[in-house]
């Protein structure tokens, strides 16, 4: 079984300040982890992914995330928020236990608000 917990349903920051969106996961097998972003009334776009290579992963638009196995965490960060970062962010875990059961499990999302 696998699950994802996004620790904050809403994060509010000022433009130019750092962003931290927290994600913890649970997986019975070696996980792959992803962050997706969804702007209002839009589809989902992949920000970055961890797939057992480097633990610090860089994504698009200045975002990065660090995989910490000991803490079962995959927090998303950005040094300086921009107004265009306002969106909902989803942490996603996938794992494979053999056979044909490749599934991706979503967290409930974190809404990021950026104040001018």
């Amino acid at each position: 079984a696998q699950s994802v917990t996004q620790l904050d349903s809403h994060v509010s920051v000022s433009e130019g300040t750092p962003v931290l969106l927290r994600c913890n996961y649970s997986s019975s097998y070696s996980p792959s982890l992803f962050w997706y972003v969804q702007h209002p009334n839009k589809g989902l776009q992949l920000l970055l992914k961890y797939t057992s290579a480097a633990t610090l992963v860089k994504g698009i638009n200045g975002f990065e995330a660090e995989f910490k196995k000991s803490e079962t965490s995959f927090h998303l960060t950005k040094p300086s928020a921009h107004m265009s970062d306002a969106a909902e962010y989803f942490c996603v875990v996938s794992s494979h236990s053999g056979g044909s059961n490749y599934k991706l499990t979503f967290g409930k999302g974190t809404l990021l608000t950026v104040n001018p």
Binding site: G43, L46, A53, F90, K103, L104
Partner: protein, 116 residues
Amino acid sequence: DAGITQSPRHKVTETGTPVTLRCHQTENHRYMYWYRQDPGHGLRLIHYSYGVKDTDKGEVSDGYSVSRSKTEDFLLTLESATSSQTSVYFCAISRGFRGRSGTEAFFGQGTRLTVV
């Protein structure tokens, strides 16, 4: 952008009627998924497919059925629509597991379904 097309994009239907949503891909990916998105719940997996005529249930499969008769098409049917099935539905595709790592999913633009 990955070649995924959902149809229709918007639909209003009456309680008790059957509804079919279509997902079409041009990427030849093995896995196809149907998710529903509701406020506060993130995306929840309804059903997924790992090949032609091979499907399995997700976490919220009651009241839904699926079919995949061709690699490129994955249909979601609401057998008798209820108001609780008012939601935004997303189709996704993925190559699944590659080597030791999972791969990301690519999403369609979504179908907004309203059951009145």
